[in-house]
């Protein structure tokens, strides 16, 4: 229960950050899904398999906070949880770069799907490409950070 409350607060904080920086980043054609990436990192770092119902409910919570259509984040959170759980052992033989590419491209797919649903009339390939580049760079920076500051990166949510 305590764990769930912690994770919920973590997601709400992430959503708050995402909502507040989105307007600034949109001027540079960037969509940075930090909530989705944060949840993906959590599923990746956890020792046990994340529960699909938990992923679904967290997705619905994010839908509510972001004011998007219900089911959008719920579906995408379920899918990323399934993917990460399926490849959890394969990740161990991946290099950091490959893992970063996986998360960066997952975030790009997330941006693509959400834009298709929320912004179909003004779908922008420039935004998708720039966001893709930005998200991959961000994931690489996180990997570099965890390599140089392993004590901080070992902290559990």
């Amino acid at each position: 229960m305590k764990d769930m409350v912690k994770k919920t607060i973590f997601l709400m904080v992430m959503s708050y950050v995402e909502i507040n920086i989105a307007a600034t980043l949109s001027n540079f054609f960037i969509i940075f899904p930090i909530t989705f990436l944060g949840y993906s990192f959590y599923v990746y770092r956890t020792n046990s398999n994340a529960n699909p119902i938990e992923a679904f409910l967290f997705g619905l919570l994010v839908d509510l906070i972001h004011g998007s259509y219900f089911g959008l984040n719920a579906t995408l959170f379920c899918l990323i949880t399934y993917l990460i759980n399926s490849y959890s052992n394969a990740f161990k033989i991946f290099s950091y770069l490959q893992v970063c590419l996986f998360f960066g491209l997952s975030a790009t797919a997330y941006v693509g799907f959400t834009q298709l649903v929320l912004n179909i009339y003004n779908f922008s390939y420039i935004t998708l490409l720039v966001s893709s580049f930005f998200n991959i760079i961000f994931c690489i920076l996180v990997a570099v950070f965890t390599s140089y500051f392993p004590k901080i990166s070992r902290l559990k949510i």
């Binding site: 909502i19 219900f70 959008l72």
Partner: protein, 279 residues
């Protein structure tokens, strides 16, 4: 320790949840069935913010005001600001560029003691997500009337700020939901100054841009960049001859379809005080 990949049972659960998610998404997009939950959440968020502010910041501010003996001055300042905002809106209404009212004498000040005599009500901004406004197709805003009389419905009332019309009310719950002119599901009938060109301008989903599509073979008036457009009043909602904006782009899609992009003269992000016309 190695993690176990999803078992067939878990895979079925994932499949069911993804299907459920897609189902909910389809229902929400097509029927807006979850609007009440979303409105409830927004109301809760806004109310909690104000309650928290009243509990935490306001008492401190009140004490500070008392110690500095500025309370009266602050109240006067608030009233003056409200009056100033109202005068901006009044100025917009009686300016020569539009004709909300042909006769200025019928214009009644919204801060009169008798609210029923006023032609429009003042409202303050409660919620407008600038992220959604800048990125997405659905452009909505929530406002609250200063004098919230429930006796009169505000549905379909025109909302304006000191630069012009910004939208109309679609839902009058606790807070009034305003559909902005730029929402993709919104249309506003407009015309040129010469009264020889009419069209329905749809929201583009982009900030401050509406799009008017027409057949150039039927409407032969030459539309040039920077040309000004006005409301035609044909829908019966918006008053006639109110300035909407200027043409910023003209796209020839095909020989019988041309689109003109109009930059609106009123931006909802500019103000926190709005006027709502009474039906």
């Amino acid at each position: 320790m190695a993690r176990i990949t999803p078992t067939p049972g878990q895979k079925i659960l994932y499949f069911l949840l993804v299907s459920l998610g897609i189902g909910i998404l389809y229902i929400d997009i097509n029927t807006n069935s979850f609007q009440e939950i979303k409105h409830g959440y927004k109301s809760l968020k806004i109310s909690s913010f104000y309650i928290l502010k009243n509990i935490s910041i306001e008492p401190v501010r009140r004490v500070l005001n008392l110690t500095k003996s500025k309370k009266t001055l602050l109240e006067e300042n608030t009233n003056l600001k409200k009056a100033l905002d109202a005068s901006y809106l009044n100025n917009y209404l009686i300016s020569r560029e539009n004709s909300f009212y042909k006769d200025d004498n019928i214009l009644k000040y919204p801060l009169l003691d008798d609210d029923f005599k006023a032609n429009y009500s003042l409202a303050k901004l409660k919620d407008l997500d600038p992220n959604i406004f800048k990125c997405c197709d659905k452009h909505r805003m929530y406002i609250e009337l200063f004098s919230n009389s429930k006796e009169q419905s505000n549905l379909e009332s025109v909302v304006f700020n000191k630069s012009g019309i910004i939208g109309q009310i679609t839902n009058d719950g606790n807070y009034l939901e305003v559909i902005l002119l730029t929402d993709v599901s919104h249309s506003i009938p407009i015309k040129s100054i010469s009264d020889t060109f009419f069209c329905n301008a749809k929201g583009s989903g982009r900030a401050n841009i509406i799009i008017c599509s027409y057949n150039p073979l039927i409407w032969d008036e030459e539309i040039l960049l920077t040309k000004t457009f006005y409301t035609s009043g044909l829908g019966g909602i918006f008053p006639r001859n109110i300035k909407i904006g200027n043409v910023i782009n003209i796209l020839d899609i095909s020989p019988n379809l041309r689109e003109i992009e109009i930059a609106l003269s009123a931006n909802p992000l500019d103000d926190e005080i709005f006027g709502v016309f009474k039906n």
